[in-house]
Symmetry: C2
Subunit: 193 residues, 2 copies
């Protein structure tokens, strides 16, 4: 597996914006089961080993999990404030749950859980997301086991097949399109902003 050609400008953007914690936040668009779009902020958790797949995490009880089971296509829109760049990454999302049988996927889910902070892990023991607000005591459960993921914990892998990179700096702005062709090779073209 070789690195896709958009990995280099994305790595550069991450480096240029490294002082901003929220430069690792991006917005993930999916489809609701009624066909309307949904959009929420997610945190970039790095790439899965040597692949071009982006790791995100989610709660099995959240709306996006059944949405993705019904329709796996999504677009991640990632704006980098300091370098003034946008990456749009269109691809399918694989949801890895406690029930995922594939051992390499189960392993990466376990590893991701272990790398979380205690504060991040405890949120998977909180009451049902989006239900009417629960009593405050329910938000103070025992800290979950740091080695074994809670059943609510999901790892999401975004496998991009089209990437659009817009750099607002420059006059005129620069925009590059990358896409996987029919034989799974990355193509590239400079396009108008």
């Amino acid at each position: 597996m070789t690195l896709a050609p958009w990995r280099s400008p994305l790595a550069r953007a991450l480096h240029l914006n490294r002082a901003l914690v929220y430069a690792r936040y991006a917005q993930l668009a999916t489809l609701r089961q009624d066909g309307r779009p949904a959009n929420r902020t997610v945190v970039f958790r790095g790439f899965w080993d040597e692949t071009n797949q982006i790791k995100l995490i989610g709660d099995r009880r959240s709306d996006k999990i059944p949405q993705l089971a019904a329709q796996p296509w999504s677009e991640l829109c990632w704006y980098f404030p300091k370098s003034r760049e946008q990456f749009r990454l269109l691809g399918t999302l694989t949801v890895i749950t406690a029930d995922t049988a594939d051992s390499s996927l189960a392993t990466v889910r376990h590893a991701q859980w272990q790398s979380l902070s205690d504060n991040a892990r405890v949120q998977f023991a909180w009451p049902q997301p989006q239900a009417p607000r629960a009593d405050i005591a329910q938000f103070d459960p025992e800290p979950p086991d740091p080695t074994t993921p809670l059943p609510t914990f999901c790892l999401l892998l975004l496998n991009p097949t089209e990437v659009d990179h817009l750099a607002l700096r420059g006059d005129p702005q620069n925009r590059d399109r990358y896409w996987l062709n029919a034989v799974q090779q990355w193509q590239w073209q400079a396009v108008n902003p």
Copy 2:
């Protein structure tokens, strides 16, 4: 027309984040004509007069215009980095073009064009977006007339019918849901994050 109840926390977030120019940027999810989601950064241009409709702008030649003609539902995801808040605004988008007959809509389109900077206006005279990169000379056209919008200029009005406000500060986090009921009144509920 009264202000929706989510307007007050949104105005507060805009105030708390006013030092960051990119706090006025948000991500707009729409549906591609092939049914897959699309997601891109847009700039908040304020509200339309005394309504709860959010003004955005777009190029008639961009993908989102035919996408919205086919399916007007969209979700705007707006993250405020300084106050650590997210607003998700689900609603329909009205696209106002040079062909829009309604005079009040045509008026607001004209007013929006007139309020743009010269730099913002000239982009609507640039070559076809997303086409193979044009010669640099084509990006230096005559400045457009500041009073009459170019035909490529569209105003978009997002009319939210559901709003989800998540405040990451606070232990636990706070989340509020707002929605328009069957008789077009705003309802509100505190929910679990």
